[in-house]
Symmetry: C2
Subunit: 224 residues, 2 copies
């Protein structure tokens, strides 16, 4: 039987590989949208099955280690965090695919003038994901917590995008289909931000053994 | 130390309690929307923190049992399924809250004539959730699989809702804000259907030890 540490390291690498694929998909989906690049969107859609297969692979690795190694304390937290982070990454991959699909759909509609704050929202959300993965790799609690704080900014940007698109639609009904696509893009970006926040909570839990979801920390829930 | 079976039974009950709360919230959110009932929507929003607390409690119970009892085979599958089902139920609770918020927002806008297929979509999605929980309780694989099949019907209804609302907005820009609210309601219902599907996949995995996500079954992935 191989050393447990080696197996945990392999799971860690696989999770980072998954994260890398998901990051690449978001980046391509957003560039496809901004540059009206069909090929990038199609690549995102082509890459999705591989992300799904990797999710199943990671789940299998983590579940097997839970069963065979009966880990405790930090190793147990790592394995349960890996299961949760894996799910969040796969859903981010789905959302990148949705953005790519909207991007393709937008190429068939008359263009809405204001992309408004969508590119800003996209960079913010991408930087949240990069930061939280960095926090995971380095075990940096402060960095993970900084991602929790960025979520409000994402919500503010989303509100401004919605307001501006609603206004545009009411003034010019011909842009309704394109504007609805952009509303969904903003919503998908917001949800990527939510998943990055979930991952940040898992990273804090992993490092400190403290559950920070839903302000649970105030009740000082501790898991060891 | 209490008997492991008793502890698993407690976790099972807690999960069903969580499911009951979530079901009640969806049902209230949908009725609030259809009947323009402000009070029901407010109750959904008030109940959300309790659902969140229960999620954390269930996660704690399942993680503790994984650590202390080092379960194997079906008990291990039950505990990992419980963790996943718990996450899906909590997200369904969030989606019920989003519908309740849209329902409140809709009370301030001029009404869109066609609620179109939204009530039909809502009943379908609610019946998927009821069925999958029934499948979980009874260990009924066939029932769980029937939920997987219903997902296409949800997607068809969503397409018809979107097409009809886009058309309405283009003909009468004054209904744009209300129609956008309804588009989000349809999207939230669709996502509740997705989560019910996730739970159905977990139930099949629990019963058979077969992973049916992303057509993984075709590759005959088996987890024991």
């Amino acid at each position: 039987m191989r050393h447990f540490t080696v197996e945990l390291e392999e799971l860690n690498s696989k999770l980072l590989e998954m994260a890398g694929m998901v990051e690449a998909s978001i980046s391509r989906a957003v560039r496809s949208l901004v540059d009206q690049n069909k090929e990038l969107a199609e690549q995102v859609i082509r890459d999705e099955p591989r992300i799904n297969r990797t999710e199943i692979e990671i789940d299998g690795m983590a579940t097997r280690l839970l069963a065979l190694r009966q880990p405790v304390a930090r190793d147990l937290r790592f394995l349960t965090a890996a299961l949760k982070i894996n799910t969040d990454l796969e859903r981010i991959g789905d959302l990148a695919q949705h953005i790519a699909e909207r991007s393709l759909s937008l190429m068939h509609h008359p263009l809405v003038k204001p992309m408004v704050d969508i590119p800003t929202m996209a960079s913010l959300v991408q930087s949240m994901l990069l930061k939280v993965l960095d926090a995971f790799v380095k075990g940096d609690e402060g960095l993970a917590r900084s991602v929790l704080l960025a979520d409000d900014e994402v919500d503010n940007l989303r509100d401004s995008v919605y307001a501006s698109l609603l206004d545009t639609m009411q003034k010019d009904p011909s842009v309704v289909p394109a504007a609805v696509d952009l509303i969904f893009v903003a919503r998908n970006l917001e949800r990527i931000g939510d998943h990055a926040t979930n991952i940040a909570e898992d990273v804090v839990f992993l490092i400190k053994g403290i559950d920070v979801r839903h302000n649970a920390e105030r009740a000082e829930t501790k898991v060891t």
